[in-house]
Symmetry: D2
Subunit: 138 residues, 4 copies
């Protein structure tokens, strides 16, 4: 899979119930934001996980790394970006950033592998195809 | 279905991430507590929703009423009770209370109906059977 | 406080992590949606709860009634509306609807009272003032 | 701060509302479990974050690494452990494991630093004192 050149991004707003006693967004909620952005990305590029699932192929998150830079506060508007890169034959990294204007809020790297139910497999060609199509490189 | 005489109860503890900016449990989280207690109750009395689902029968929550009396705070230990009663031919009410020692925290009434996928149906006999068995009245 | 004539509304989208094993939005999550819409409404009409809090006055939710009509599903876009009405001297009802296009998803009534820390008090004049201003009736 | 020899551990049970469309615990919820175990650990060893906060000292999570091994399912009972170690002058790592019987579910490393509101500072002596006391090494 080639390197992805054009990151995908969505804009969200903090909801009060996502904040905890410290008055800032709870640490775990950032993972909700990252997941939502990945799923929107996957839908946007037209990757059909249901069709892969019907063939017995599923992605699994197996490592998450999160670097907390600054905290989000009630009412903040922020962007969540997604880029994708492959490492070796099996691993796909989702490189994600949360930013609030010029402030870096979080850098995240979410590593997934595809499995056929028994063992890890190389990402199916649909993944690279969808990404290239989205980047207008197909 | 006869009136249920012996309420079911579980004990839980507030987790910090369930609290919001006011330093108390967020209003929506109480519904999580109530749902968890209902599901534990259903498992405990041996009611098999998966078996009903396989026959096309599913319960649906269609009304929730919550009376907030006092707030739960970080670290609080509390009890969540469940009783069940039928109204008319179709409705089942789950009568629930959250208490902290002698403090009333919440009274809730969650009304469910069973459907066969097209229309509401009377609760299947398994429901009353499981309840009576649990109450030792079978 | 006069009757509110112009409901407030926000548009949201279901996020996958808000859905449960049944593949639909979990019952408790609707309360998050309702709360978020109420808080946006309160900010939009310019009601300053922090300023009231500084004078020892706080609103407290004391009853919630939710009528579930249809379920929201992954990716659904929906609207959450808020209207406000007073009952008697003390109670304020937030009348809320969740709709998806022409589908009624939920009707909710959230009842709040203001307290001065010891007992319920009539809503401070700022509440009616902000509402009238928002409705262009001031 | 010396190396911690005796890990702390709590036992929890999966609640249905923590599971997502795949029928397994949602990825973000594991961070709730880890946080709850850390906070219980901190209370158990008698470390008083409110007292530190009153002196202007607060811990901040600045990196989280999570290795997902196996998924938790509805009703599963599992253990969450916490150990602590210092790296260099500033960093404290919470080394955490989630296990279900003999199954490894997740390994996590949560890195925190203390700040005085302006810059990172070495962990206050109360931290090592509380840990040693808990380990019976004081």
């Amino acid at each position: 899979m080639p390197e992805m050149k054009k990151p995908f991004s969505i804009t969200l707003q903090v909801r009060d119930y996502e904040c905890d006693i410290q008055g800032i967004v709870n640490n775990a909620v950032y993972q909700n934001y990252l997941e939502h952005a990945r799923h929107e990305f996957i839908k946007t590029i037209g990757l059909d996980f249901a069709a892969l699932h019907a063939r017995g192929i599923d992605p699994v998150v197996y490592r998450v790394e999160l670097d907390y830079k600054k905290a989000l506060r009630p009412g903040d508007t922020f962007d969540v970006s997604v880029a994708m890169e492959q490492e070796g034959r099996l691993k796909i990294h989702f490189l994600q950033k949360i930013t609030r204007g010029t402030d870096d809020i979080m850098h995240g790297r979410v590593t997934a592998v595809f499995t056929d139910g028994r063992r890890p497999i190389a990402p199916p060609p649909e993944v690279a195809d969808a990404m290239l199509k989205w980047e207008g490189r197909e």
